[in-house]
């Protein structure tokens, strides 16, 4: 018995050692990558001077994920007294969070529907609300494109797998509108029917669609052009939907009624609509409003 427990003890220690090594290994790996990114941001001398910076919380639609760090960097460079943090989520989720009393300063919405809801609910400074960008729907394909999709017309082929947003999220609403227009103008109702029967997942966030296409788990997905632009070059292929058959999503920005940092919020708003801000948004595939 004792022999057995001794043996057990030894192998247990061995397993523990392996695990600790793994942990330390992964931590140092993460540490290394962390250092490089930090070095990048800390290169800006103005940042180190600002001892206590005012926090600025920005609720932004998930489709702004790619643009958000660049916006943050550029804004903080111009206004070093602010410490911008982005909370990125589906616009509908952000709307609900605000309605449930979440505290934020600026709301960047991918859907006028939800902006209007917050406006009528008195959650926004209604006079500050304005359009700042727009976005079109695009069809993305995995780089390998094993399904050999050449155009939107192919999307009704049997045994394809398609991902799109649910009908509650803005990208899902725009996707449906675009599909309706394409069906009405060129491809017909049976194409639409075939396309929908190929849908294997209705994602609750836009990045969910991108990931599944990226992994090659689905053959095609519907996302905003900005998401395609934000993706690492060469990882995705795209089929552009003509503007007349597309659905335009308008992005709006507004200052929250309950903000404690009105000055910083309005500075961010100005920055977003300035030439600098618009340039960044354009780089990430957003059209001007």
């Amino acid at each position: 018995m004792k022999q057995r427990s001794c043996k057990t003890y030894q192998s247990r220690t061995a397993v523990a050692c392996i695990l600790i090594l793994l942990l330390v290994g992964s931590a140092s790996f993460a540490g290394c990558t962390g250092v490089t990114t930090q070095a990048g941001t800390e290169a800006t001398p103005t940042l180190t001077q600002a001892q206590s910076r005012t926090p600025l919380v920005i609720y932004a639609a998930a489709s702004l994920t790619g643009a958000s760090p660049v916006l943050k960097q550029a804004f903080e460079k111009a206004y070093p007294q602010y410490d911008v943090s982005f909370d990125l989520d589906g616009t509908q989720m952000l709307t609900q969070k605000i309605e449930q009393g979440a505290e934020a300063d600026v709301f960047l919405s991918a859907s006028t529907r939800y902006t209007d809801r917050l406006k009528s609910g008195g959650y926004l400074e209604n006079s500050t609300v304005k359009k700042f960008a727009s976005n079109y729907i695009i069809i993305i394909l995995p780089k390998a494109n094993t399904a050999k999709i050449e155009s939107a017309a192919d999307l009704d082929h049997t045994s394809l797998r398609i991902a799109m947003g649910t009908e509650e999220v803005p990208v899902g609403i725009n996707t449906r509108q675009a599909i309706d227009k394409m069906a009405n103008t060129s491809y017909g109702p049976s194409w639409k029917e075939g396309l929908y029967s190929n849908v294997v997942t209705y994602e609750t966030t836009e990045p969910g669609v991108v990931t599944k296409v990226n992994l090659g788990e689905v053959d095609a997905g519907f996302v905003y052009e900005s998401s395609y632009k934000a993706a690492k070059a060469g990882t995705l292929k795209a089929i552009v939907i003509p503007k007349d058959q597309n659905s335009l999503q308008t992005y709006t920005v507004g200052i929250l009624a309950k903000t404690g940092e009105k000055e910083g919020a309005s500075r961010f708003l100005e920055f977003l609509t300035s030439a600098d801000g618009q340039k960044i948004l354009a780089d990430f595939g957003f059209a001007s409003a």
């Binding site: 192998s11 061995a14 509908q92 797998r161 991902a163 649910t166 209705y202 609750t204 992994l215 788990e217």
Partner: protein, 278 residues
Amino acid sequence: MDLSRIFASIRGAWKTPGTLAVVFGIALVGAVCFYLFAPIIALFFRTSPALFLTSLKNPVVIESLKLSLITSAAATLIAVAVGTPAAYLHSRHRYPGKEIVDVIIDLPLILPPAVAGVALLMLWGRMGLLGRYLNLLGFHVAFTTLAVVMAQLFVASPLYIRQAKELISHLDRSYEQTARTLGASTGTVFLRIVVPLIGGGLISAGITTFARALGEFGATIMFAGNLSGVTQTMPLAIYSAMQGDFETAISISIILVIISIAIMAAVRLITRRGEIHA
């Protein structure tokens, strides 16, 4: 009443360590209960019985309830059928690498479900290590109802195997050994001695496994996707409904709460019966 007397009695109570301990104890337990139970109560305040009953007719609710019950039951059955003999063989034998097997069994329990989902895709997905060969054979796993069961099984079965291991390790070996000397094969010993003796424990382990499978979200949405009637289980339906139809989200949540309470009551009942037996 005389105010100074009340004050004195409070002071007296404060001075008696027993009373103080009782008051402190009640306050502490009360705080814990409030923190854990109040959110669940709050769920019921956001809806009315009428609204709840209407949303029960909502096809999204019905479809997700049906799918959840079927897939969780399937995952539980597989976990029980495969996990019980595996736990038995594992617990009753010494073999090289046994400790590593223990770690492997426990790993999914501490793994974030989203990681589990990505990991399953990397193995069974269309571009996955195994999935790519299955794909050549025309067999798709990801984004099917099977994928839901697989995700639930991956996340929930360790819970079952762990409990089964625990039960077996506490079972006196002399029952099995006696049965062997009485001419029973390993299989007979397992089915006629081990399973009946720890049956109550196995059932409650199965029920908690079912509950875990029922609540699975992260791995499912990653590996199986979100398609009503095919892969949209109740937790996924809640999350999807949260994007717009708040009422439906609350209704499904309430159904899950009711199922959870029923599950806990069942476990209590079974373990209590088991205690009398032992």
